[in-house]
Symmetry: C2
Subunit: 585 residues, 2 copies
């Protein structure tokens, strides 16, 4: 097909939109792919819609190829099924809620587990019907607190969500691996640079879980990779290498000290070194101190929060996202002034593990705080610290928790060297959801023995509209976009940059031949636009290849520009064959 | 492609759903094309989604062919643009309204004039950019008072809406005619039986307007067709053939009579005939009486309603839909007891045109009430009527109005015989919208003379998801659906109805060959399902052609069934060629 710039509904902009911070947002708006309708809500202009549909098609082909069956659920949904799973409430402000004219509660679907599960329950009743994988490519709604970066995090967005239903765990594992492979093929075809990261399963419930993160400095997710291996994980999912246990026998006694003006870790270390304190025979660093963070934790359904003490080495901060992920679905908050007043045994700045345990507060420790490690920590009295407090001898903990920050250089698991940190954008998430939803809807299936069994689910999502932003983010330069052939709105941009009638006619011939060869062409046939503006637009719009009929056309040659790459001079009558070769390769 | 019934996510039902009244609703649910999620909100199961997408593709191809450019607006929209046009309020309960987490008013788009118009305003500024036609195929939301008949009138539905923008009326006319042609091609390709009816433009504003009505006894719209010509019109748009004017000179004087017990038209005619009254020398019929209907009309923005008298021949009822269409955008209600009490000159049952006029009430008459026609009507006093009251002599009217019911046999315009009545389902609507929205958004474009001009719009809609119900409505039989080749989920249904392994293997060969020929195949490969159930399912699902490997397979033949038509016996090795021929024809 041929689309002419003289009639295409498009206006490119030279200025960045005022609300745009990241390159994909700036360029997609400037190049006329998208247009803002409301915060986090975008219109898809003709070029943008073409690329969106092509991304959808790649996703569709690969999910069909693993046996996925496409259907389409409504976006406007009744409250009841989301009440069944508790998510009507759990979603909080993220859910768009509304009432219809009969005062019925409705919602705009943020995700459709309820619909998939209840539909399978309605249609299927025998193990012979399983396994089944269903999916949709659908518009979803989430009332994000901070919609950002254009279509990177929108409030109305397109998602592919699939669900597998299997009768047993082996089936689920197979469905999971099939999706894992399909996702790799999808992102490879799209030319996305990504990492597959172990992930926590979040509010969705379930067990095994991996995220596909597009590598991007503008990503909201931090993840780690091993220097010597293929380990990668979302920071929330990083498992700390535990400290080495050692016998407590023979370790020096713990000694309490007056420590005036040592309320912070830094001042405490200063005091210890000024006082000549040694831990394990070495001068003290922040890593020898033990921070006792007091939190309030509210379990789902609980009326009031309970106190929780979290112990982390003093050289690390508590990473609230890791802490929250570790304690989900409970809600967590730092203890406040009032909590300290209500619990006089909590001496602010001097809280220690012994005082917490003595007063019935649950204590969870960083995995480095193992039996035999010795610490400087609060002595549960004003201006008092204790030196050489040994875990497993002087205090016990109720368990371990992943709450401390992860740092560049931390050891990677399984001897894969150390961890490096990077930022990424979540483009896919696959996980073994299990029976959370099939149990909620009581999906009873007759198994091979004629007994009732509840199928297990896998859940697999791809942010389809987000992928378009990710491609723009990873593949642009300072002049504009640069689409992969597979999803470019048009594969070739033909520019007539020569005022001779002969050049325009040759351009018409070339686009007609390209079209006949099945190549999609964007044709800059605009009569009164300068070559400079045409070149700038071509770079901004970002088709993978451009054919320029410019000055050299008089000598029978045209320029063939690879976006972001080389420029070739080719004979005008060889241009079509050469372009076709590049497009197919 | 080949889809196997052994794995297809489908369950056919033998019973009609309890809430279904019309055949399309019953069959689409029973055949597993759609599934109800909430009143007027449906999920598209795999078969239904395939047909929906194919209908969309037919629409897309034909709108692209007339130069339409596809884009996609959000469904979730901010209030402001709909405030600009007043439709935030005007839509009343039909609009789904909601608030986001920051308490901003938002809505689910029922139609997108605001978005199209404001986007054109943003992108275009010169006459050189015009004409432009933009469209989308998009999910829309209307909170219908009575969602009915499955996807025939839903609250979430798919629509194709296009808008043309032209600098002048000639351009608009050309854009309108281009759409008219495209719509004919679309409905012809889909095999819909339809009529193109003159229509009122309704709340959308604008002038020339036609509706495409699919002919169906389950339609909500009544329309008329001429017996001798191509005239067709929605009942609201029927223009009454006016009565013949005649000189008033020489007509008998009007005479008042006591008419006890003659409050209704029937009793009044009885009285007149008993009293020997003649009108124009003939005995009296109801058509000689004149009904004076008293209404309350509230103009937009008016604080209180005003009285309006509407005169119609006594043999016809006032058709409230025609009346409302004639008075739009004003709101209309019948006068109530209180109104009669407040206006003592209104003598219930005896209201006449003279009393209305004398008291300053505006009077509009049916076009049959022309100068020189003589009537029996109320005398504005209890138990009193006047006989021989002549229009243009004894009373004047302020204008004419299309308010009386249209009847089978009424004269058609332009000598096209008489009118017949039929029912239809609106599947398309095209009209010349004019400058209502471009003026509301102040879309100023520099014209060829460098002056500012406001472009004029055409508006063109197709109910895409509704079309699927219409096809089911028009093309089913008592056994099931019957899709046209163009939009059937699969073109051929291959049924193995023979338990021999050889038949199953031959079936596999046939489907593979059909697939290789580019034909989409639904393959009933189910092992433990009886031939009878397979045949019933094939008829219910409604693929246009079926290949049956049954008893005669032993003799080397298969059955080739045309859905709703003949059954052929063909040699098994000729089946593929024969099917391919039928599919292409």
């Amino acid at each position: 097909m041929i689309t002419r710039l003289s009639t295409l509904f498009l206006r490119t902009l030279r200025e960045d939109p005022a609300d745009a911070e990241v390159p994909s947002h700036k360029l997609l708006v400037r190049a006329g792919y998208i247009r803002r309708a409301a915060p986090g809500v975008y219109s898809w202009l003709p070029l943008g819609l073409r690329t969106l549909r092509k991304i959808e098609d790649v996703v569709r082909e690969e999910i069909n190829a693993i046996g996925g069956q496409e259907l389409l659920f409504p976006a406007l949904l009744p409250r009841e099924p989301y009440e069944t799973t508790g998510r009507w409430t759990e979603y909080g402000d993220h859910l768009f809620r509304l009432k219809d004219r009969r005062d019925n509660d409705m919602l705009l679907g943020p995700t459709h587990e309820e619909m998939f599960t209840s539909t399978v329950k309605d249609l299927y009743s025998s193990y012979k019907d399983f396994p089944v994988t269903l999916y949709q490519i659908q518009t979803k709604y989430r009332d994000e607190e901070r919609p950002r970066a254009g279509i990177l995090r929108g409030r109305e967005f397109v998602m592919k969500d699939s669900y597998s239903f299997d009768m047993d765990d082996e089936g689920l594992e197979a469905s999971y691996q099939a999706h894992r492979g399909a996702y790799q093929r999808i992102f490879d075809r799209l030319g996305v640079s990504y990492a597959i990261c172990r992930a926590t399963s979040g509010a969705m419930g379930g067990s095994a879980s991996e995220e596909f993160l597009a590598i991007s400095e503008n990503g909201e997710d931090t993840f780690v990779r091993a220097t010597d291996g293929d380990y990668a994980a979302n920071v929330e999912a990083v498992v700390t290498q535990p400290g080495t246990e050692r016998p407590v026998e023979g370790l020096p006694e713990a000694v309490e000290h007056d420590t005036p003006d040592a309320e912070t870790i830094a001042t405490l270390v200063d005091w210890a070194n000024a006082a000549g304190v040694l831990i394990d025979g070495r001068p003290v660093t922040a890593a020898d101190t033990l921070k006792c963070v007091v939190l309030k934790v509210t379990e789902p359904g609980a009326e009031a929060p309970e106190l929780l003490g979290v112990l982390v080495p003093g050289d690390r901060e508590v990473d609230m996202k890791r802490l929250e992920a570790a304690l989900e679905p409970a809600e967590v908050a730092m203890a406040e002034e009032g909590d300290f007043r209500k619990n006089p045994f909590l001496i602010k700045g001097y809280v220690g593990p012994r005082g917490l345990a003595a007063n019935g507060v649950r204590v969870l420790a960083d995995p480095r705080v193992v039996t035999g490690t010795a610490w400087i920590t609060g002595a549960d009295a004003p201006n008092r610290h204790v030196v050489g407090l040994v875990a497993g001898r002087d205090f016990e903990v109720d368990g371990f928790i992943e709450a401390a920050e992860v740092r560049e250089g931390d050891p990677a698991p399984a001897g894969q060297g150390s961890l490096t940190l990077a930022r990424g954008i979540e483009i896919g998430h696959i996980f073994q959801l299990g029976r959370k939803y099939t149990e909620a809807f009581d999906v009873q299936i007759l198994d091979v023995n004629g007994k009732r069994a509840i199928p297990t689910m896998g859940s697999y999502g791809i942010g389809v509209s987000r992928l378009m932003a990710v491609l723009a983010e990873q593949r642009h330069d300072d002049k504009g976009l640069n689409w992969p052939v597979e999803v470019a709105p048009y594969q070739v941009h033909v520019v007539v940059a020569n005022k001779d009638q002969a050049a325009l006619e040759a351009g018409e011939r070339i686009v007609a031949e390209l079209d006949a060869a099945g190549i999609e062409v964007l044709f800059d046939d605009r009569a009164k636009v300068s070559p400079g503006v045409k070149f700038k637009d071509a770079e901004l719009l970002g088709m993978p290849f451009a054919v320029i009929l410019g000055r050299s056309f008089a000598d029978g040659t045209v320029e063939l520009r690879v976006r972001g790459g080389e420029t070739l001079e080719v004979a005008a009558d060889e241009a079509v064959a050469k372009v076709a070769e590049l497009v197919r390769s």
